[in-house]
Symmetry: C2
Subunit: 204 residues, 2 copies
């Protein structure tokens, strides 16, 4: 689609944009969008403030780039996890991916979207719209996967909507609990109970 480098004119940037965004993302994730200062972001990324300004247009632009990166990196994982069969395996993979993101490598991370974007959304309607789009999209994706399981006879069709809501609510609960500091093993236990109940719907 696009050539790798259109050969820009002056001095080339000394940093890799993606890795700068990744480093900034870690800071935003830990401190929150309000708590992360430009100085700490500059230190973490190795860039100086004027370079951050030139590249991202300020703190909000940098946060926005971090949010984009989070959304774009997450989507394929969700798709891949849900592609499995049967439904139980798909949901197990989906939630295990959740835990991978929410519980590590730093402590009390939670979901970047649920944990920090909602905070940022208070002051920025554009962020609000994007959160809404992503969360709505996730709910729809989950719903479609569960509906297809019902079509395959894995689940009573009447329970599709309820099961979707439960899976989505579980996702949100995991994000919040991980942020609050609940241990991964504990979350996996809770998760298992919910999955067992959903599984029971198939057998009934």
């Amino acid at each position: 689609m696009e050539q790798k480098a259109p050969r820009r004119r002056g001095r080339p940037p000394a940093f890799d944009r993606e890795s700068v965004v990744a480093k900034a993302q870690r800071v935003f994730w830990r401190e929150g969008p309000a708590g992360a200062s430009l100085d700490s972001l500059a230190e973490a990324t190795g860039l100086h403030k004027p370079s951050l300004y030139a590249a991202f247009g300020g703190k909000s632009g940098l946060y926005s780039a971090a949010l984009d990166a989070y959304i774009e990196s997450g989507a394929p994982d969700v798709r891949q996890a849900l592609a499995r069969a049967p439904l139980r395996k798909a949901l197990e993979a989906f939630f295990e991916a959740d835990l991978d993101v929410f519980c590590g490598p730093e402590d009390r991370r939670g979901c970047f979207l649920i944990g920090t974007a909602i905070e940022a959304a208070a002051g920025d309607p554009a962020i609000r719209v994007r959160i809404d789009a992503v969360l709505t999209g996730l709910r729809r994706t989950l719903g479609a996967r569960i509906a297809s399981a019902a079509a395959e006879g894995e689940l009573a069709v009447a329970d599709v909507e309820a099961a979707t809501e439960i899976v989505y609510a579980t996702h949100v609960m995991l994000a919040v609990e991980a942020r609050a500091g609940t241990a991964r093993v504990e979350l996996r236990k809770r998760l298992g109970r919910i999955l067992d109940l959903l599984d029971g719907l198939a057998g009934a």
Copy 2:
């Protein structure tokens, strides 16, 4: 237990502590603990900064008082809602109380505990401990109510733990979605689906 006024010595305070905390709570709720400035808190409460300091010892003390007030005001409502029978009515009342708190009177409030305390917890381990205690207590309370329903034969005993997790996850989901701006009617619809499914467990 305690006399109303032990007759203090000097000039009496010109404010009512409870109503000051309530006004500060609204600001913290809207702006978050980091985003709320002492100046805005002073303006909202009608007190001046030195009075706030004398009465609460600074911003974190005021936030702590607001958190206490939230916790103390919420507990009786939960107890009262869950006291109903059968389980379905109890849960409906519980969630309707949730929506009362999360959806009004201002826009996008969500849960004070889940929405703002987790943000504050990053910097203050004492807050973290309190959040954990309250959320764990809520899970236990819900679990006890559901277990008693199972004992009455309203629910299969095997499903008690799973149902507890689902109800708790739903509570968290409502808090987050309300904060993100999802409308109350939409939330009530989702809620209904989950309650219907849980109800179905009784009939099966």
